[in-house]
């Protein structure tokens, strides 16, 4: 983006403050700069604390596995809210997806499993669409009853179809467990670049892994992250990551997407221009349900080898939180999912690197606070500054965090974000409000 003469005049005498530099960047540049800064900060913290797991390839692989279900859930929320429907039922649609995935993968193999998961979620999405679009039921109530319904439905279905049935490796199904499935979705590992997936730094590492094991500042960190992306990539992961740019492209670059978003912002205006709002809502809810279902299917097929009751573990709600955190945008969604799953991955892999993570979060919050002070946003500065202080204190005093507490982190972060930035977040204007064509004047 280039500055015009008028812009320069308006800005007055040139001030080389960081805030001005930042605000004159295009959003793509901002994203790149923040990613680079995050990476640099991460390397610094890794170097200073010696918590190698912060940037190890294993952490990246684990992060991806944890991020995908959340990402799918977030996309599900995005598709629904952009067309004007609040989707609290993501959790339920995911539950249907896990069951469909477990069932399909056990009977017909993993790919069909993913398809069944999609269909399962889609059924939930269509029920939600029928209730909210056709019958104008309150969106939150409908979504919530889908959660209730799905939890009961899968228990009943499991009792009917899984109990006592045999699967692979002699595993037997039960009310809360599907019989294990046969195959898995293939994984891609570029072995000659990244070394074997299960290599260790103690034996002779080669390729990128050798660089990672040197523990050079920045270089090894980059190698670790790159190796995480190049080894053990499930095809389903690639598919899921691909859905983010595809969603962005459909919603912001196509005519269909423009109509879709307009029916979430001002349905009456859209209707008056000939947009078929109701039909769009059904379509978008089908996609939304399918995405949530895929998220459930990913859990049952890729992260696990069978359906387990309660395996969604509120990921539908976390997905919703990521969507809000990401300000109803695909890139923000990606960032939120990465953040939540990264902290989870670190906790699961090595609890000792949690203090290093606390330091890292504290530093980031401090940056935010400083930038808020420069923009004279005192309330935000106060909130983020206080939170940063809290994290530094935690870093200084805590050596091991209880799992129970760290599992609450995504929710606490979301609440902090909502409390400090809810004025700057911009949800679709008509999301969640009842709409009947020809009703509003």
């Amino acid at each position: 983006m280039s500055l015009t003469q008028a812009d320069v005049d308006l800005a007055g005498p040139p001030r080389r403050s960081a805030a001005l530099l930042w605000s004159s960047r295009s959003s793509r540049q901002r994203i790149l700069i923040s990613a680079a800064l995050t990476f640099l900060l991460l390397s610094v913290v890794r170097e200073k604390t010696g918590a190698y797991d912060l940037t190890s390839s294993g952490t990246v692989t684990a992060t991806l596995h944890l991020a995908l279900p959340i990402l799918f859930a977030g996309l599900s929320g995005l598709w629904a809210e952009r067309v004007g429907i609040v989707n609290i039922g993501i959790e339920g649609m995911m539950i249907l997806g896990t069951w469909g995935g477990g069932f399909g993968a056990w009977k017909y193999g993993p790919w069909v499993g993913l398809l069944f998961a999609m269909i399962g979620g889609m059924i939930g999405g269509m029920v939600h669409a029928l209730a909210t679009v056709r019958f104008n039921v309150d969106h939150v109530i409908s979504g919530f009853s889908i959660n209730l319904l799905a939890a009961g439905a899968v228990r009943y279905l499991s009792a009917v179809y899984f109990v006592g049935k045999k699967g692979a490796h002699g595993g037997v199904g039960s009310v809360s467990l599907s019989p294990p499935q046969k195959g898995t979705i293939p994984e891609i590992t570029l072995r000659f670049i990244t070394d074997r997936a299960n290599a260790s730094c103690l034996t002779k590492p080669s390729g990128l892994f050798w660089v990672e094991c040197r523990r050079w500042f920045v270089v090894s960190d980059a190698a670790g992250i790159a190796r995480g992306f190049l080894s053990q990539m499930s095809l389903a992961t690639i598919l899921g990551l691909g859905l983010v740019p595809i969603t962005a492209w459909i919603m912001w670059r196509t005519r269909f997407g423009l109509r879709l978003r307009s029916s979430g912002e001002a349905p009456s205006a859209a209707e008056s221009l000939g947009v078929k709002v109701l039909r769009l809502r059904y379509i978008a809810m089908a996609v939304s349900g399918a995405m949530a279902g895929l998220g459930g299917g990913y859990l049952a097929i890729v992260t696990n080898t069978q359906y387990k009751e309660g395996m969604t573990a509120n990921r539908g709600y976390i997905g919703l939180a990521t969507m809000i955190f990401g300000n109803w945008r695909p890139t923000g969604l990606l960032g939120g999912a990465a953040l939540f799953s990264y902290s989870d991955a670190l906790r699961l892999r090595n609890n000792k690197s949690i203090p290093a993570l606390l330091l890292f979060v504290g530093l980031i919050l401090l940056l935010f606070s400083v930038s808020a002070i420069m923009r004279q946003r005192w309330v935000t500065a106060y909130f983020t500054g206080g939170a940063a202080l809290l994290f530094f204190v935690l870093y200084a005093t805590v050596h091991r965090l209880s799992d129970d507490l760290t599992s609450a982190a995504p929710y606490i972060i979301t609440l902090i974000v909502l409390a400090s930035a809810s004025q700057r977040l911009r949800p679709p204007a008509f999301s969640g409000r009842p709409y009947r064509p020809g009703d509003s004047h």
Binding site: F135, S142, F144, A151, G152, Y156, V160, L320, A408, L415
Partner: protein, 366 residues
């Protein structure tokens, strides 16, 4: 009672019954599709509902649902959706169980009263976070309470696991330290029916008085209906939001009490029926936020769950009840919406007729 009011009550009751019947039909279809006989299932549940033991069990199960239903309905009356009941009662139950062990020197009735007060305060405090975020920071209460639920469950698990674990003898059941006998809620029928049923009825009665018969209740409902109109007559909607959420949280604090003070006499992480706070939403919806409706629908849900325990005998998974409950909620809101629209239309037509009639009498032609 005038004719219109009678008619409205009739429509409400009929639509609720229709929703329940509709849910039973849907579940019948699901049973048929999965190769079970619906008539056999419903017959078994009907027979079970006649047994005294099942009836007590149903009331036991209905008691927390009445509290939950009231808590949610209080929010609904102010146009607030308190999904956070689940988190509010867990925090309240844990803190009450801990406080209950420390105040054993009090005489029995006072001991229980203090415990109940603690539960109310804790529930209200946890709901207060959502109220603060809503009023001061503009955070939607649905999102805030969903997040707070997850945080409450983690927080309770952490507090319990790190500070208050206590193993009784060699039993498998890990709980907090047991509450002394003076802090127990006595049973009405020994080991079958706990005194909290009476408390629940009292709370529902208090809900009726406060929301439908008091000045505060009028302001609450007015503000919930149309906060702009209420504001012009001097009712602060912010204050109403805070009060409604605090009251809702306070009532939510009671939900875990039957389990904590009446049954296990300690807090145990496994003791609670999962999602009881969510079922409360279903109860409030089916009961249309009306006290009698709440009691009846809580009893219905309790009876469904209790009589389903007999389904194992005929090899039908008792999880079918969860499907019935889910479908009831969905069909009840759809039927409510449809019947509401129908009533509106009727009222409009009647008004139009009246105007027309009046005009013809005056000799004016349209």
């Amino acid at each position: 009672m005038d004719r219109q009011k009678l008619q409205r009550i009739g429509v409400t009751a009929a639509s609720s019954v229709a929703a329940v019947l509709f849910a039973l039909v849907i579940c019948g279809i699901i049973l048929l599709l999965t190769g079970r006989s619906p008539s056999h299932v419903y017959q078994t549940m009907w027979d079970a509902a006649g047994e005294r033991r099942i009836q007590y069990d149903a009331i036991q199960r209905a008691t927390p649902l009445m509290f939950a239903g009231c808590a949610v309905a209080l929010g609904f009356k102010m146009n607030l959706f308190n999904i956070g009941v689940e988190g509010q009662y867990r925090i309240a139950a844990l803190v009450t169980a801990i406080v209950g062990t420390r105040i054993g020197f009090l005489p029995a009735p006072l001991h229980v009263a203090v415990e109940l007060a603690v539960a109310c305060v804790c529930g209200a405090a946890w709901a207060g976070i959502a109220a603060f975020l809503k009023v001061r920071r503009g955070v939607n209460e649905v999102i805030a309470t969903i997040m707070l639920n997850a945080i409450a469950i983690s927080l309770a698990a952490w507090l319990f696991n790190t500070y208050f674990r206590y193993t009784q003898g060699n039993s498998q059941n890990v709980t907090t330290r047991p509450i002394p006998r003076s802090g127990w809620m006595p049973d009405i029928v020994k080991d079958q029916l706990n005194g909290f049923f009476i408390v629940a009825l009292l709370v529902v009665f208090a809900y009726w008085i406060v929301v439908f018969k008091s000045r505060f209740g009028f302001r609450l409902r007015a503000s919930g209906h149309n906060d702009v109109a209420a504001k012009t007559s001097g009712i602060s909607s912010k204050r109403m939001i805070v009060t409604a959420l605090l009251l809702s949280g306070a009532v939510a604090g009671f939900i875990g009490m039957q389990q904590t003070l009446g049954d296990s006499h300690a807090y145990s992480s496994q003791g609670f029926v999962d999602g009881i706070g969510f079922l409360g939403i279903a109860v409030a919806l089916l009961g249309r936020n009306h006290p009698i409706g709440i009691v009846l629908s809580a009893l219905l849900f309790g009876l469904l769950a209790a009589s389903a325990t007999k389904l194992g005998l005929i090899k039908v998974p008792q999880e079918i009840v969860q499907i019935i409950e889910g479908v009831i909620v969905l069909s009840v809101v759809i039927v409510n919406e449809a019947s509401g629209r129908w009533v509106d239309k009727r009222t409009q037509q009647r008004a139009a007729h009246a105007v027309e009639h009046h005009l013809t009498q005056l000799g004016v032609t349209a």
